[in-house]
């Protein structure tokens, strides 16, 4: 088994690239809100928002989405643990930046979009992911990507969330599935 690792500094570089992309796209932040998909997306969104706030001086709302109840594969797997969705703002008429750590089939994003729309009617939803590993099964593409890594389904891309979640962890890309 070979494993490729990205260290926290390299992750920081990817995040800075995403921040640059966002600041090029948006000049006003009044209506922009961030929603991270639990749990990898939440972790990435927190770091991203912290960097963006430092750069822009804006205060950016951040919510967390739990998509367990919106999955399309409930009957084929063990019960995913359900945790509350915590979105402390109204999404109606907002520009939502939906954040996840990795996009693969696109099914998680489909579920997340459906969930967001149950909470209100945003003006627009953008998708931001730290990695795009390919393998899409639905017509869904991210608007902002940290890095594209084409991986076959037998490979694992794992972001290690350190105990102190304010720190950045490593990323492991390994050949064999757990």
């Amino acid at each position: 088994m070979t494993t490729q690792t990205l260290n926290p500094r390299e992750i920081q570089t990817l995040l800075r690239k995403l921040v640059r992309g966002l600041t090029q796209r948006f000049t006003r932040w009044d209506d922009v809100v961030f929603i991270g998909i639990r749990s990898g997306g939440e972790y990435i969104a927190r770091h991203l928002v912290r960097l963006l706030e430092a750069k822009t001086g804006a205060s950016l709302p951040l919510g967390v989405l739990d998509i367990a109840l919106y999955r399309d594969d409930l009957s084929k797997r063990l019960y995913p643990e359900v945790r509350p969705t915590e979105i402390p703002f109204d999404v109606s008429n907002k520009i939502v930046i939906l954040v996840d750590d990795v996009i693969n089939t696109g099914r998680t994003v489909r579920a997340a979009i459906e969930h967001i729309i149950d909470l209100g009617r945003p003006r627009r939803i953008y998708l931001l992911t730290l990695f795009d590993r390919g393998g899409r099964e639905l017509p869904i593409q991210p608007d902002f990507v940290g890095r594209v890594v084409g991986l076959t389904p037998d490979k694992v891309l794992k972001i290690l969330i350190p105990e102190d979640e304010t720190a950045l962890g490593e990323v492991l890309i390994s050949e064999v599935k757990r």
Binding site: D66, A68, L69, Y70, L74, S75, K76, R77, L78, Y79, P80, E81, V82, R83, P84, T85, E114, H115, D118, L119, G120
Partner: protein
């Protein structure tokens, strides 16, 4: 995570850790009922049959709303107007319903044990909505959830249940659950309304209400059915109210933070009165609100995934 139960027959069948899982998951479902769009697609395409052989408003409505908020289809059948009136047995009725391939049957039945027997022969999930004097597990779970929501924990809480313990499936289910979760339980009733074998429940028992009031964190009043007077189990409403009813004077002797609960429907003027039922200490309507969330959790756990793993 794997949920090992196809059915929910009684709290007696659940381990403390499983009760904890249910209570931990419930806030996620409660949040759905607070949205403008109170619906998630989780159980789309599942059919839930509500079979009520006994009068019920709250429990039936609560189950039906819970199923609908999870996008399941519901069909409710009550005794009047159905073929049960024509003398069809429960077993035949169940087999016929099964032939229509529902995913879950919620049953209330006047005799203990029937729901468990059906669950053994039915391939679909069976949820007990109250069987005779046996158990009413979803009521106990919503009661425990309401207590934990209010106090933060069940461990060490002193819960006093007052009333017709002998005929109360609510008291039995709560006693089983609360003792598993580390609460101290005291049952209060006249000797004639205590069940045989109560000594084995792991609870304290008192025939006098007044002495236990000052140490209670929760006082749960149970409905006293007037038909029990005809059975000479107590002599009258007013005598019962004077010994066991929760009135203003008794409420004033409660701990400052203690709360009043009632599973409903209430007999105002008998076990509870206007002063106490409508006081800020009463969390009776929170219980009803939490009932929907608890039943959503159970439908999700029993129907949401595959049981093969």
């Amino acid at each position: 995570m794997n949920w090992p139960h196809k059915d929910l027959i009684g709290i007696a069948d659940l381990a403390a850790g499983e009760i904890e899982t249910i209570l931990d998951m419930t806030p996620s479902f409660k949040e759905i009922s607070q949205r403008d769009i109170k619906k998630v697609p989780t159980l789309r395409g599942k059919t839930v049959v509500l079979l009520f052989y006994e009068a019920s408003t709250r429990t039936r409505l609560s189950f039906e709303i819970a199923a609908k908020r999870l996008s399941a289809d519901t069909v409710a059948i009550s005794q009047s107007g159905s073929s049960f009136e024509k003398g069809e047995t429960m077993l035949d009725a169940a087999k016929n319903i099964m032939a229509m391939n529902p995913d879950c049957i919620v049953i209330r039945y006047p005799y203990a044990g029937t729901v468990a027997r059906l669950a053994r022969i039915m391939p679909c999930s069976v949820l007990n909505a109250g069987d005779g004097f046996h158990e009413h597990p979803t009521q106990a779970l919503l009661d425990m959830y309401s207590m934990r929501e209010h106090f933060g924990t069940l461990t060490g809480l002193h819960v006093v249940m007052v009333g017709d313990i002998r005929h109360s499936r609510v008291a039995r289910s709560n006693a089983y659950g609360l003792t598993k979760m580390g609460a101290r339980v005291t049952l209060v009733a006249p000797q004639t309304l205590l069940p045989p074998g109560v000594a084995s429940w792991g609870v304290e028992v008192s025939t006098a209400f007044d002495p236990v009031i000052p140490s209670a964190d929760v006082i749960m009043m149970l409905r006293v059915q007037k038909e029990r007077i005809a059975e000479h189990l107590f002599s009258g409403d007013r005598e019962y109210a004077s010994f066991y009813g929760l009135n203003q004077q008794r409420m004033q002797r409660m701990k400052k933070h203690a709360v009043i609960m009632h599973p409903g429907p209430m007999n105002r003027g008998v076990e509870i009165n206007h002063d106490t039922a409508d006081s800020p200490r009463a969390i009776i309507l929170n219980q009803v609100e939490n009932g929907v969330a608890i039943r959503m959790t159970l439908l999700y756990l029993c129907l949401g995934g595959s049981n093969v793993d």
